[in-house]
């Protein structure tokens, strides 16, 4: 589904060293690493929001290295959720369909199953400004799924939430991902989050993807000190 081959990029003084990664269709891949290790930059590179220096990115078998973000069919949820404050919840969720020329009514019909699955139907007429953290993330997820993406990139989608809300959202993410069968890359810092969600885990450190595998494998056989620090043996 997602294949990165020797992707490098520069952002100011930060350098992403060649990253190669494959995420299979339907996989839930959790990308971990300390702050500043390059996780968010890699996510944005896959979305086409930052330009890579070298390497290639393929999604669903198609090389999208030079493609504009709108042609990649990647659903992106940033850490802050990034809801548009000038649009209602409904306007946010149907945004991606409307920009592709679908009328509001038809768009609302199309997103109805997603809205129902995420339990945000009662919020549709509301402004986004006074939503709770959990509601905000659900709306952002519904908006990303509404465009029928091939790949979902979630950049720390629950990091800013309190513990009870996180415990509510994580299983929902898992169920929704299984139901819609969309390959997902999820950035986080938390081992518990990774344990609850991941089919596979990748650890980044100082701009390098240092190890990938199952969480148990990484914890048992850390390739580097960075992995050991992030996933200490119990």
């Amino acid at each position: 589904m997602l294949r990165l081959r020797d992707v490098t990029l520069r952002a100011g003084r930060f350098r992403l060293h060649p990253v190669s990664l494959t995420v299979a269709a339907g996989d839930y891949f959790v990308l971990m690493g300390p702050t500043g290790s390059g996780k968010s930059l890699l996510v944005q590179a896959v979305c086409g929001l930052v330009r890579i220096e070298s390497g290639s990115i393929a999604i669903d078998g198609k090389d999208v290295t030079a493609a504009e973000p709108r042609f990649r069919r990647v659903g992106y949820v940033p850490q802050t959720a990034g809801l548009f404050p000038h649009l209602s919840v409904a306007g946010n969720i149907t945004f991606g369909l409307e920009v592709r020329g679908t009328g509001r009514r038809q768009a609302l019909r199309k997103v109805a199953p997603i809205v129902q699955r995420l339990g945000v139907g009662h919020l549709m007429g509301r402004s986004t400004v006074n939503l709770s953290g959990g509601e905000t993330q659900k709306v952002a997820l519904a908006r990303a799924l509404a465009c029928d993406p091939k790949l979902l990139m979630l950049d720390e989608p629950v990091s800013a939430l309190d513990e009870p809300t996180r415990r509510e959202i994580c299983p929902l993410l898992n169920q929704v991902q299984r139901q819609f069968g969309v390959a997902t890359v999820h950035v986080c810092h938390s081992r518990e989050e990774a344990a609850a969600l991941a089919d596979r885990v990748g650890v980044m450190s100082a701009g390098r993807l240092v190890q990938t595998g199952s969480l148990a494998d990484l914890a048992a056989h850390p390739a580097e000190e960075a992995v050991r620090r992030l996933l200490p043996k119990d």
Binding site: L49, E68, R70, G75, Y76, F84, H86, V99
Partner: protein, 285 residues
Amino acid sequence: MARDADDRSDRIHRPAGTRWHLLSVVSMSLLIVFACIIVVLIGSQVAYLVTHRVTPGAFLKILSSRAVLGGIRLSLITSLTTLVLVLIFAIPIGYALSRYRFPGRSVIETLVDVPIVLPPVVIGLALLAFFGTGLGGKVKEGLAGAGWTLTSAIGIVMCQFLVSISYCIRATKASFDAADRRLEKVALSLGCSPWGTFRRVTLPLARSGLLAGGIMAWARAIGVFGPLMVFVGTGPRVQVMPTAMWLELSVGNIEVAFAIALVSLAMAGAALAVVHWLVPGRTWT
């Protein structure tokens, strides 16, 4: 007693736990004195009309005279035309200054600010010089060939445009700076083109600041005087409110000048009220 003190504290929005000290006393006193000066200056114009027995009926009669009405109408037509032109130029320029890094950017930013620091009359002189020689002279001849002259609404709009656009560019740049770029990235990922992102996300996010900047530019444009005196003159066909005020004063019709001034004040007040209403976080309390 303690409750009263707390209520007072809430009303003036002091941070909890702070006390009156020399800085707050001096700064608040100066603020109040300045506000009083403005109120006195405005009130004195009304007082002048009242003490010179200008009744509301006489006031309305002055305002409905052909010369005064013509001045107000031309001011509104030219300033609104200027506002449209200013927005057409200032929005893309403000966006470019906010979003793009390019060689010579600081030089261009300085040039954009020049009309703010120039004495307005210099802009009139510069226009005179430009249209008196070279390319400008040819443009002037071309316009004359088409039956247009610069000593008309065209010249007024040119002066108003040059005096006011820098204020609008500053405001639009600040609005675009404040618009969250992460939302633009989300819009791009959801299928928007760069233009679609600008239209559907960036512009609505910056809307309040853009409108406030436009209104400030309009208020600046409607008050332009010096450049008009130099470049357009004071003929009956080019009299806008500021030049009409000056002409009436120069022939001793002080009441008429004050009546026009009060109309200007009312317009400026309305513009400021709209700005206060539009700019987020500004309230009347």
